[in-house]
């Protein structure tokens, strides 16, 4: 008689051999739960992340900028959609995930709890926030869960366009009038530290990292990614002739990396807990959109039960 192989062994073997785990495959419950948490949190970040930039679409200073920004924010909605679909393959519904966001049970990236106060923030977000997202997300294209990895491949392509449009806004402002340059510097001052916090707590305070690395969900630690980001970004700031607001920032020849100053972790944890400048308004905006859309969703369902939409021009 053939023996059924131990599913845990099979799973471990697949992960070790860099094969993708697919929705129908057996997987350990904690792996599934970790993925649901991570992917849904990622999806929520895309959706909540539409709000700070959406804030400037109606004030974009030229028609081209308006169109590019709108297309960018729309892409983020698409990313949310791919990611909700990827999470759904793990047996959780989009409604449930959205309910968890609205109840405060599920988190999203804390960066979106900071306000967008000037047009230069559109530049800083694209350059730095999307830039940090790329650092985090490129390794996720090889993550062990198939649907997540494939969603990330599509997303990463668009993220590099987002970063470019942001950097281009910064470049235009940095080369512009005195006021425009000041606007760009002010945006960098306000976004720099929150962006460094996007990579999450320090490695020794990140309890889930080891397990996620073992499952090959994660490939690099928080501190490794943060360092990579700083190393890549400093020359870009120099090129713009803008100053990174960190007096301790300097090249360390021995390490072959930039050293940088201490991050204010107290602020980080307060924002995570809900005390950032915009936590309440971001969540309220999402709750409001959902509540006000309820009659629309009901009507669409009621119509679909009655007949198939088949309107031809």
């Amino acid at each position: 008689m053939m023996q059924t192989p131990d599913p845990q062994l099979l799973f471990d073997l697949k992960v070790a051999e860099e094969q993708r785990i697919e929705p129908k495959d057996w997987m350990p419950e904690p792996y599934r739960r970790t993925l649901i948490r991570q992917i849904s949190q990622h999806a929520h970040s895309e959706i909540v992340g539409m709000l700070p930039e959406g804030n400037w679409i109606t004030r974009a200073p030229s028609l081209r900028r308006k169109a590019v920004l709108l297309a960018k924010v729309q892409d983020e909605a698409g990313h949310g959609l791919y990611l909700y679909s990827a999470a759904e393959t793990l047996g959780v519904s989009r409604e449930q995930m959205i309910a968890d966001l609205h109840s405060g049970k599920a988190k999203y990236s804390s960066i979106f709890n900071y306000p967008t106060l000037s047009w230069a923030d559109m530049g800083a977000i694209g350059w730095l926030v999307d830039g940090a997202a790329i650092m985090n997300q490129v390794p996720l294209c090889r993550t062990s869960y198939g649907p997540y990895a494939r969603a990330m491949v599509r997303i990463c392509k668009e993220e590099s366009f987002h970063q470019r449009q942001g950097y281009e806004i910064m470049m235009t402002l940095a080369k512009g009038s005195q006021e425009q340059k000041a606007m760009a510097q002010d945006a960098l001052n306000r976004w720099w530290w929150p962006v460094l916090m996007m990579f999450g707590p320090k490695d020794d305070e990140s309890p889930n990292t080891a397990q996620s690395m073992q499952w090959k969900i994660k490939r690099f630690s928080n501190d490794e990614l943060r360092q990579k980001f700083v190393d890549a970004t400093v020359p870009q700031a120099e090129y713009l002739d803008l100053t990174i607001p960190d007096p301790d920032l300097k090249w360390n020849e021995a390490r072959g990396h930039y050293d940088f100053g201490a991050i204010n972790w107290e602020e980080f944890w307060e924002v995570v807990k809900g005390n950032g400048p915009c936590n309440r308004q971001r969540l309220e905006a999402r709750q409001k959109a959902h509540a006000e859309g309820e009659w629309v969703r009901e009507a669409a369902m009621a119509y679909a039960k009655k007949r198939v939409m088949s309107y031809e021009l």
Binding site: L70, Q74, L81, G176, Q180, W295, R297, Y311
Partner: protein
């Protein structure tokens, strides 16, 4: 850059005015739709409304570029969009009306799309090649817009009691802004005589047939009120446009003569 034709000064002036009407209506409606971004009732429809907005802003840019070149004053698309005040704007009143609920946005879109679709169809045959080319390109997009908005009018009209009440209210509120769409004025007459633009009265008939058929399928009542508002095409707007422009033009006004 367009290869523009030279017209008599009377025709050219009317043409510039007409191109601004097309551009302004597309821009203002696109701007309104973009206000939904991040706040839509369903993620898929949030994306759909951004698509419509992007199409319309793209069309506006084409019309502005042509208008600027036809006027020959060295203006750019952004000069036209950002440095004219409300009395110089030529969009129809319908498109500046607030988003309201999703039903109002859908109804505003549908009433405009039905007009826009037939107008572009005819402009696609304009004797002016530039107009014809932009119209043909835009028509492909607007065909999809009309399908989207027709389907939503039907879905909401024939959906639940609440959705029917809401979309009917939207129709009642917006109806008075539809008269202006196909009411010809001197600009229309001059350009029609020159073979550049269609007879708006023909479009009126097509618009009416389309609107009646969709509203009937949506089980909605056609408003009986016949008094119509007008003025957008001459620059006399509702109170809403001033706020749209205040927001849209803020950076250009606060920091003049900058590159963005």
């Amino acid at each position: 850059m367009f290869d523009t034709k030279t017209y008599s000064s009377e025709v050219n002036q009317a043409l510039c005015d007409y191109l601004l009407r097309l551009a302004d209506s597309s821009l203002i409606l696109g701007h309104r739709l973009s206000e939904w971004c991040g706040h839509g009732p369903i993620l898929e429809q949030d994306i759909a409304m951004s698509n419509l907005a992007l199409d319309l802003i793209g069309q506006a840019r084409n019309w502005y570029q042509l208008a600027a070149q036809q006027a020959g004053l060295g203006q750019t698309e952004d000069d036209l969009a950002y440095l004219r005040d409300a009395p110089q704007y030529r969009n129809v009143l319908l498109v500046e009306q607030p988003n309201g609920d999703f039903g109002q946005t859908v109804m505003r879109q549908f009433l405009f799309d039905a007009y826009h679709y037939y107008l572009l169809q005819k402009l696609g045959q304009s004797a002016d090649e530039n107009i014809a080319a932009i119209a043909q390109k835009s028509l492909k997009e607007v065909t999809y817009h009309l399908k989207w908005s027709s389907e939503w009018v039907i879905r909401l009209g024939d959906g639940t009691e609440e959705s029917q009440r809401r979309i009917q209210t939207a129709l009642n509120n917006l109806w008075e802004f539809t008269g202006e769409l196909s009411k010809p004025d001197q600009t229309d007459e001059i350009l029609h005589a020159a073979g550049l633009v269609p007879d708006l009265r023909k479009i009126q008939a097509d618009w009416q047939n389309r609107v009646l058929s969709v509203l009937t399928e949506a089980t909605l009542q056609i408003p009986t009120r016949t008094w119509m508002q007008k003025g957008g095409k001459e620059g006399i707007h509702t109170e809403h446009l001033g706020y749209i422009l205040a927001e849209m033009q803020f950076l250009q006004r606060a920091y003049p003569d900058c590159e963005w």
